[in-house]
Symmetry: D2
DNA sequence: TTTT
DNA sequence: TTTT
């Protein structure tokens, strides 16, 4: 019905750009989102949240995001499951981003940003809408390849 | 940069569907969003928030929403200003919706919904992206007509 | 930094209320959130998202929510990990709710709701802030018991 | 019912800290939130959104925010109305913030932040909950003073 | 396995 | 009245 997530955090590593067998760009990275409190022991804590972006947005993220960069992500929670090679069902929870804002740019030019929108490329979800020869089903997973082919 | 609003409330009246001079559908309604507290005097309080939807989503809202219906709205805050007929600058704040969920349907079938997405029509914003002979500028206001022509 | 989630969906089962060894109420349930699209094969799809609530909000949820009820949840994504009894690290992703709205009530009275706020009980997170003899650390996990004691 | 706003933008001026007659801190500022598109004429556009913060959060904002700083704001839309000195009803729409993140700090120390939570001070809304000798009603407006006394 |  |  309604599924919206907004996060601000820092990349734990450089993003990873891969391509599905049918040639669609997918970028994966993890966002470290500091919690607003410290544990009893006073140590800083964070949630490490896996992010996935597709298509044009994937390529822009791969080009501009780097480890440590402060970044805002807007998207939806997706829960996937697959059976691993031990025959056990594994659940994967990740945020499928449709809007990413670069809050720090390379040379600390301050607040550079990109939204996947308004520059010829719409939000990744909107973009798919008008794209009929689409190798992906609407949930962002390839339809012509098995789960084992998924790039992450 | 990032501008996201999510509301759940009830329509104060039936929605109003109009068309711009260039024929684009616009629907306007007001959402009464109860506050989570009651004032000192114990009376129920609400914020009355004006909502605007465009194009396909406007037509769907006009068809299915009615006064009193519980409704979820996702969108962005827009602040417009114009000079009124007394020469004074007037500011209008409204939520431009790109996703509307009908939480009550006609016959209390319970939780019917519509998202402007996944049924052939993308989110209203995404939809505009691939629509080049668009009579509107990207802020959802007509570009070939004056403010006085705006349907609200 | 910032971590906000808003979901609307239906409970897959009745909620489960438990108590930690130190007596703190915890309620767990799963929300089925329909996706805005259908897969290639046309079948309805949903994300099944685990929700956790604490304290007063946990008790209210246990009292009023039931399987199938349309519900709005506001909270944050939490990623926990623990080592299972095979010595393997297991990651658990869930939404820690601080605001829950009941969009359907028992007798279809229509749009009953509860926010954990404004009725003597604040949001669950805010509430903890002023509660110093608190058996929990601020991340909602018991500080005087091991992970094995966690009620889920 | 549910009313949530998340914004990222820049302050158009230094924030203004005032006190109500009963001594409660209130800080007001405007956030310029760039739109994700440019108008037909290619000029950059933004929404200028008035923000209000109360109490401890108001004082922290006044201390640390400055004109031009990139800032994330979480809160709710509030619509107030009052009769101006010409006897006309005026509507004011603003975002009452309960969480503010400083995405740029003074010396570009990179991503300093403050959440009104977890450092001894809870969210401004949560904080009010346990504060009974409160000169304000729960909507953040003074109850013992008239609208004319409002600090903005 | 994690970021500042 | 507006920010980078």
């Amino acid at each position: 019905m309604l599924n919206r997530v907004i996060l601000i955090g820092r990349l734990t590593r450089d993003p990873e750009l891969r391509y599905t067998p049918s040639g669609v760009a997918v970028t994966q990275f993890t966002l470290a989102v500091d919690r607003n409190f410290t544990s009893q022991q006073g140590q800083r804590e964070a949630d490490f949240i896996p992010i996935v972006t597709w298509r044009q947005l994937a390529e822009t993220c791969a080009n501009y995001l780097r480890k440590g960069r402060l970044t805002a992500v807007e998207g939806r929670i997706q829960v996937r499951s697959y059976d691993n090679n031990e025959g056990r069902r594994v659940y994967v929870t990740e945020v499928v981003a449709d809007n990413v804002r670069f809050l720090e740019s390379n040379r600390s030019e301050g607040g550079g940003s990109y939204g996947g929108q308004g520059d010829g490329y719409s939000r990744s979800e909107g973009q798919r809408a008008g794209n009929n020869d689409d190798p992906f089903s609407d949930d962002g997973r390839p339809i012509d390849i098995s789960d084992d082919d998924l790039p992450f």
